[in-house]
């Protein structure tokens, strides 16, 4: 369910790192919690993002949810498809519905995030409460 090659945050974002670039999205757990996603607000290319700080917003019919960046860096690409098709976040959160790509300032930050196995344990723990 949760790709091994991603790292995960406690706020339910994922990041896939290729060299100096990270691709960031929200997890399947996050989209399930939100329900039908209808609106996405993202930064622009060139904007700075900071680890553990909000960089965008995802809204479902019933709720508004801030998205937190797993890493610090500069936005190099934004997934333009989500503007017209926010529902992709419900159907394909780990692939087609990536949010932004970031040039990492400090690749070491990724080591502080959770592995797929740790993240699955984390959400199971959260669901049992």
């Amino acid at each position: 369910m949760y790709p091994e090659e991603f790292q995960y945050t406690k706020d339910h974002e994922w990041i896939r790192v290729d060299g100096e670039t990270g691709t960031i999205g929200i997890t399947d757990h996050a989209q399930k919690e939100l329900g039908d996603i209808v609106y996405v607000e993202l930064p622009k290319s060139g904007d700075a993002v900071t680890a553990a700080e909000t960089f965008g917003t995802v809204e479902s019919v019933k709720a508004v949810s801030e998205i937190y960046s797993p890493v610090t860096g500069e936005v190099t690409a934004v997934n333009g498809k989500l503007q017209d098709h926010p529902e992709l976040l419900n159907t394909d959160p780990h692939a087609a519905a990536w949010l932004i790509r970031v040039k990492l300032s400090d690749p070491g930050e990724v080591q502080k995030l959770m592995s797929a196995e740790e993240y699955e344990a984390y959400i199971q723990e959260a669901e049992s409460h």
Partner: protein
């Protein structure tokens, strides 16, 4: 339904049934309720195009009986109870002296001196205390909430589905009328009422039959597209229909006139709690007025967001959401009365940004006749 002993939110008799089908649960008004099953959008569209079944057993029920029941209800509710025939219901409000609502409610006249009031879950205890405190006439008051489950069957196919499980001539029950009825082999109160903007029914009955009635209705409607609907879609449906929700459009600081509910204020029926304040406000003018709006730019208004009029922060959103059937982002807001005008623009502050919205005539949605 009595809740198991212990702490935490209350549970309806169908709680385990909702959990078993994977409903997402949330606390609402002190109850652990299903917010969605298949998804809010899909459930919302089912109610607009075929039918939906709602467990609304969290709603409270209060009976008022005896020779003093009518004068007592006349003294504490805003609508004119004397106009009700037996087996007729009316939308009304329990009143504060300030002209605001303790709660909004539906008053059913069961018999000569016998009334059954459906109230909001979160307000049930407050309502019962308020009624008790003002019952100097000595009407017979009972909080019977634990004796009733309530299911709502709503949508254009509701009557056709219901006709499969009851012998009652449904065509003879007009909107806002009801009758004691057998549905799915269970006796209860069958009312042609609802909170979705569609035709539909609400059935009040003894909680021990809940699972049987729920399953029998779903079975009767399975070929007609009936599906269970949670409180998420109940909220978007009522918003499209322009209905007030207590705690949002209505509260103790808002008069019924400000909330566009002048039509349930029968100021000529005689004295009642809040009447003087409403008369005074009718003379002196409103402090704020409820308006409907559609977003004119990308952005979703949400409850509590500030509203700007002519460059000043002048109001607030009471309910805001995407409207799944209308496919627009809509909302209700209080603005200064002078600014309340369909067609006029207001700005909604969304995350420190002002986004354009246009006032529209309410309701947003009216079902086709």
């Amino acid at each position: 339904m009595p809740t198991p002993a212990g702490v935490g939110p209350k549970r309806t008799a169908l709680h385990a049934v909702h959990k078993a089908v994977g409903a997402r649960m949330t606390e609402f008004g002190g109850w652990d309720m299903p917010i969605e099953y298949a998804g809010i959008t899909q459930e919302h569209l089912a109610v607009r195009t075929s039918a939906g079944l709602f467990d609304v057993s969290h709603m409270g029920e209060i009976t008022v009986r005896g020779p003093e029941a009518l004068p007592f209800l006349q003294s504490i509710t805003s609508n004119d109870v004397s106009r009700l025939s037996i087996h007729q219901a009316q939308y009304s409000a329990l009143m504060y002296p300030e002209g605001s609502a303790v709660d909004d409610c539906v008053v059913h006249r069961m018999g000569e001196d016998d009334y059954f009031i459906c109230v909001n879950a979160a307000n049930t205890d407050k309502d019962f205390d308020w009624l008790t405190k003002h019952n100097s006439l000595g009407a017979e008051l009972k909080n019977v909430s634990s004796q009733y489950s309530q299911l709502a069957l709503q949508g254009p196919r509701a009557a056709a589905i219901l006709s499969k499980v009851t012998g009652v001539d449904l065509a003879a029950i007009r909107t806002y009328w009801f009758r004691p009825a057998d549905c799915c082999g269970v006796n209860g109160i069958l009312a042609r009422t609802g909170y979705t903007g569609e035709d539909g029914f609400e059935f009040y009955f003894s909680p021990e039959h809940s699972e049987h009635v729920w399953n029998a209705l779903l079975e009767a409607g399975k070929d007609g597209g009936l599906q269970p609907v949670g409180l998420g879609a109940r909220n978007t449906l009522r918003l499209e229909a322009g209905y007030a929700l207590y705690g949002h459009e209505l509260d103790e600081n808002t008069t019924l006139l400000e909330a566009n509910l002048g039509w349930i204020c029968k100021l000529d029926k005689g004295e009642f709690l809040g009447r003087a304040a409403l008369l005074k406000q009718r003379e002196e003018g409103l402090r704020k007025k409820l308006v409907g709006f559609e977003m004119a730019e990308p952005g979703i208004a949400r409850d509590g967001y500030p509203v700007w009029v002519d460059g000043e922060k002048a109001g607030y959103v009471t309910s805001g959401s995407p409207a799944p059937f209308l496919k627009k982002n809509i909302g209700l807001a209080y603005v200064p009365p002078a600014a309340a005008q369909p067609g006029h623009e207001i700005m909604i502050e969304i995350r420190q940004r002002k986004v354009r919205a246009r006032q529209v005539i309410l309701p947003f949605y009216r079902r086709p006749k």
